[in-house]
């Protein structure tokens, strides 16, 4: 496992380096892993890396880039747009010469179209936002002031909003809200992986059995 970087295009032109974690031994199968988003991204990160370790042992290289504005990225999240994220993942795929893509949860919204994709437990953008808005309603109520869902979404679309600690710009919110995963990917359902999804956990967790199962499914699909 090596920390690496890749040239990510900036929306206004130019390039900024973004971080990626890679297992690269110049092998044939090369999987771009598009990570889960926001809070789920934190909860799923260790699991994701555990899957990469297993893919490495199964003879597959893998690459886990950051979305600009997330994880180690120095770009401001509030200036991002989903179209930039699509371009970013396409650029990462080119840089690492990926042969396949594996999307995890919300990451399935951004698997590059030119790659054969597998989607693990894909989710619509609207479901991700619904939960983040609900968390904000609950947090506000807990701190003694009421906020209505309609007011939050109106404000998000007009001026952008911070949800669960993530500053989302108005453009991001508007464009992201309607996104659904592409329909030509091979879907890997949680039942195939066993147990309950780790994105449900209140705290980040790991599960060796689930990591074994997901890596085996991915390795079998791309080396078939």
């Amino acid at each position: 496992m090596t920390p690496s970087s890749w040239p990510c295009p900036l929306p206004g032109g130019g390039i900024r380096e973004e971080y990626a974690l890679v297992f690269d031994r110049q092998r044939g199968p090369r999987v771009l892993i598009v990570p889960a988003l926001f809070d789920e991204g934190n909860r799923m990160r260790r699991f994701t890396v555990e899957v990469m370790r297993r893919l490495d042992r199964a003879g597959c290289d893998s690459f886990l880039p950051d979305f600009p504005g997330c994880n180690e990225s120095l770009q401001p999240l509030e200036h991002q747009d989903p179209a930039d994220w699509t371009d970013a993942m396409a650029a990462a795929a080119r840089h690492f010469a990926a042969s396949h893509a594996l999307g995890i949860r919300g990451g399935c919204l951004f698997t590059p179209e030119r790659l054969t994709a597998m989607h693990y437990a894909p989710v619509k953008a609207a479901s991700i936002l619904r939960q983040m808005v609900r968390a904000r309603v609950l947090a506000s109520r807990e701190s003694g002031h009421e906020e209505r869902r309609e007011d939050i979404t109106t404000r998000a679309i007009e001026r952008g909003i911070t949800l669960a600690g993530y500053a989302l710009g108005a453009d991001f919110y508007r464009h992201f809200e309607t996104m659904t995963p592409r329909d030509d990917a091979q879907i890997i359902a949680q039942e195939q992986v066993g147990g309950s999804g780790l994105w449900l956990r209140a705290e980040p967790d790991e599960n060796a059995g689930q990591a074994d199962a997901l890596a085996a499914i991915v390795a079998a699909a791309i080396t078939a």
Partner: protein, 87 residues
């Protein structure tokens, strides 16, 4: 249906809290949830409610979410049973 709701709710809490199988069997009506378990912050509760909606096929309005229903296992169960009875 009531027993089934109880069973499902224990399963969901097991998944959200990362409990060992069987651990949620010890929950009783007074077992404390939100405000008692540090890992149940607002994001986790939002996830919990969304999962309840998905698995029990109900819709929960934000206005319906009150401290009382989240405070204990009994409160949450009563709320969910009420929702299912009216569904």
């Amino acid at each position: 249906m009531s027993d089934e709701t109880d069973l499902q709710l224990r399963r969901i809490l097991t998944d959200v809290l990362g409990l060992q199988p069987g651990q949620a069997d010890d929950f009783d009506a007074d077992t404390g949830l939100f405000g008692h378990l540090p890992e149940l912050d607002s994001m986790a509760v939002a996830g919990l409610l969304t999962e309840i909606e998905d698995r029990l096929d109900i819709m929960i309005d934000d206005d319906e979410i009150e401290g009382e229903m989240l405070e204990t296992y009994g409160g949450l169960l009563a709320f969910v049973e009420g929702k299912r009875a009216n569904a």
